[in-house]
């Protein structure tokens, strides 16, 4: 059985004061190989917890994750992760960062260099390969993070708000790059984001989560990611359906946020 199955995942943790928090409740997602899923939701709805469980950094209270028929327990190289920022190794050059995964596997120098050179070409950083990562701009650093993740040839790429810290223009360019990489490599991707627009543009499937307890609120299948491949993303945004779905999801999330605020006011 190929793809990624998330089956009835629940996560509850106990606080020091005796109370407990239900971060996730019965979350099930069945992701086919090569699908791009974006996950949206107000803060505190458990998106990041979900991603950390899939990556293997957290163990769920109940439920299980299966990748290509094998149950997942801890972190592993078949599930690559792209973080928001600050996860690059600043003591290594761009090239060493990208080559980190192959190096850990003990790959020989020559094939490793070919992979690194190829990926740096793909993300457009060929001329920066000997630079230190702290000399690059935020957008370039995220390109390095993408290339580093791809160099390891993971089956699934988990992205935790990878573009969240970038300015609007860079972000738009990077969205195009993510779409291009998804189409060219055929990887399964789970993308967590705060931006409704980004979720719509990139997600072939989209899940809106609701908080307290964290659960799946609504699921969409969207045509925009397919439309966006090889096209200007701004054209996609002009599509009438795009605006409709965006408004629908935005009001959904606003309602949730209001509920949270109301609850806090009581």
């Amino acid at each position: 059985m190929s793809g990624l199955q998330i089956d009835k995942l629940s996560m509850r943790f106990d606080l020091p004061n005796g109370a407990s928090v239900q971060a996730l409740q019965d979350v099930s997602i069945d992701l086919k190989a090569g699908e791009l899923l974006s996950v949206l939701g107000p803060s505190g709805c458990g998106k990041t917890t979900l991603l950390n469980i899939v990556a293997g950094f957290l163990a769920p209270t109940s439920g299980e994750i299966t990748l290509n028929g094998t149950r997942v327990f801890g972190p592993g190289p078949e599930r690559g992760m792209v973080f928001q920022q600050g996860a690059l190794f600043e003591w290594m050059s761009v090239r060493e960062n990208v080559g980190f995964g192959p190096r850990m596997k003990g790959m020989a120098e020559k094939p490793k260099r070919e992979i690194v050179d190829h990926l740096l070409n793909v993300v457009g950083l060929q001329e920066f390969k000997e630079k230190a990562v702290y000399e690059l701009s935020g957008g370039m650093q995220q390109r390095v993070a993408l290339a580093r993740c791809l160099a390891n040839e993971p089956d699934v790429i988990l992205m935790d708000e990878p573009l969240g810290a970038l300015d609007a223009l860079t972000r738009e360019k990077m969205q195009g790059l993510v779409l291009k990489l998804w189409k060219e490599t055929g990887k399964t991707i789970i993308l967590i984001t705060h931006s409704v627009e980004e979720a719509l543009l990139l997600g072939e499937r989209l899940i809106v989560m609701a908080p307290r307890p964290g659960r799946i609120h609504k699921e969409y299948n969207l045509p925009f990611a397919e439309m966006g491949v090889g096209q200007d993303l701004r054209e996609v945004k002009k599509h009438p359906d795009f605006a409709t779905v965006r408004e629908e999801i935005l009001s959904m999330i606003w309602d949730m946020e209001e509920e949270i605020m109301g609850g806090a006011a009581k």
């Binding site: 990556a55 992760m81 600050g86 996860a87 995964g101 850990m104 702290y134």
Partner: protein, 443 residues
């Protein structure tokens, strides 16, 4: 209550000293302002720069527009040496820059004695000779009258009581009384200014001859720069207390380096263990947190009791001085690793050992370097202090022994060398830091 009274008295003494020093401090500040004013005037004559900083209109309160002025640094250092030379009559400076020196050479004064209604004058010849020489009082003629002439030789910066009437025909015992010096009347307890200084009279009527000491410092308080320099040459070639200067300094440095390295070799793994394991952190936290605030100097007596004053004791002391600093630096280096870096490494397939080798250790290096810089500074201070207490060789021992023999030039030379070495160590550590961990603060 007596304690409070005692402390108050001490505080009063301190404040009095401060008030006494105030004119000099104010004078120095005025000198700084004067130099600054002069330089800003000169700078206006030069071609104005138009870099980014000089075009800022808001500079007061903008921290980034304040940088260290190189000219000020140079002038301040030069001024210290100039002041030193001025107040010690250094040969490196032209004579007009010297403060007035102490009186040296020959002079004389007259005194008038009255006895039995008669009055007579006599002359006292004074010879003030440089310290270290031995000059006899000049032979003089006794002169006429019942008051006879006298002669006196004394070293510079000293004063001397002289019973000028001891050779007079009518002495004090015969009711003679000195009534004037150089024609100015004098009485017991009074004093008269003369050419070479001051002559005062004690309550019993003896004259006290005080040649002027001038504004220059006596070499025992502050030797001149050339005296310190020649002492440096002398000790560098012929040594001090059976060891050459290089040996003294070399032994101090050797102790610091060995002690620091041992401290780092034990402290860094200890810090890693504390950063990576609950059990080790629980075990060593109380020990490290207790030992950290104990000044290494406070351990000197115990170390001397346990290990004597030889190399072993010194190195144990420096080991202890460096150990806690390095352990704490390594611990915070490990705890400071961003969890996303560790997570990223795990997702890229790294094993625990690879994470240690490629993530945790490089991530902790900047903190360890900062710790090493602090530890080297503390070790250098501690070794000098330990040598002051007891040692066979070493920079601290050298200045302590010299101070017992009042060789202020050696003390001063030693302090300057200790400062230079400490500064060099810090510079080398900074340079190594820039070279070895260029990513410091860039995460």
């Amino acid at each position: 209550m007596t304690l409070i009274a005692d402390l108050w008295a001490e505080l009063y003494a301190v404040l009095t000293t401060l008030v006494g020093a105030a004119p000099y401090i104010i004078g120095y500040v005025l000198l700084i302002l004067l130099c600054g004013f002069v330089w800003s005037f000169i700078k206006r004559m030069l071609t104005p720069k138009s870099d980014y900083s000089s075009l800022k209109t808001v500079t007061f309160g903008d921290e980034s527009s304040v940088s260290s002025d190189t000219v000020a640094s140079v002038v301040s250092i030069v001024l210290i040496f100039v002041l030193w030379g001025t107040f010690t009559g250094s040969k490196f400076l032209p004579g007009f820059m010297h403060m007035p020196g102490a009186f040296e050479g020959t002079s004389s004064f007259d005194y008038t004695v009255e006895a039995n209604g008669q009055s007579d004058d006599a002359t006292v010849a004074i010879t003030v000779f440089p310290t270290g020489e031995d000059v006899d009082a000049p032979a003089i003629e006794a002169g006429e009258g019942f008051a006879k002439n006298d002669a006196l030789a004394l070293p510079v910066y000293r004063s001397q009581l002289l019973r000028v009437d001891r050779n007079d025909t009518l002495g004090r015992d015969a009711g003679a009384q000195i009534t004037a010096v150089d024609g100015q009347p004098i009485a017991p307890g009074g004093q008269v200014d003369v050419d070479f200084g001051v002559v005062s009279m004690t309550a019993k009527g003896t004259l006290n001859i005080k040649p002027s000491t001038g504004w220059q410092m006596e070499p025992i308080w502050l030797p001149s720069p050339e005296a310190v320099l020649s002492r440096l040459g002398e000790i560098a070639t012929s040594g001090f207390r059976n060891s050459t200067l290089a040996e003294h300094l070399g032994f101090s440095l050797f102790r610091v380096i060995v002690g620091f390295l041992l401290g780092a070799i034990v402290g860094i793994p200890l810090g890693y263990a504390m950063g990576l394991s609950n059990w080790f952190r629980g075990w060593f936290d109380p020990i490290v947190e207790f030992m950290r605030p104990v000044p290494p100097l406070a351990l000197i007596p115990l170390v001397i009791i346990w290990a004597g004053i030889g190399e072993v004791g010194k190195i144990i002391l420096l080991f202890l001085a460096a150990l806690w600093i390095m352990a704490i630096a390594a611990r915070s280096g490990v705890s400071g690793v961003r969890i996303s870096k560790v997570h990223a490494a795990y997702s890229l397939g790294a094993s625990k050992w690879q994470i240690m080798r490629h993530v945790i250790i490089p991530n902790s290096l900047p903190e360890i370097f900062t710790g090493a810089r602090v530890a080297m500074g503390v070790c250098w201070g501690t070794v000098v202090a330990a040598e002051l207490v007891a040692a066979e060789k070493g920079a601290g021992m050298m200045i302590m022994v010299a101070s017992k023999f009042q060789s202020t030039d050696i003390v001063l030379m030693g302090i300057i060398l200790i400062g230079i070495i400490g500064f060099t160590i810090d510079m080398l550590m900074r340079w190594a830091e820039r070279w070895l961990v260029p990513w410091k603060g860039k995460g």
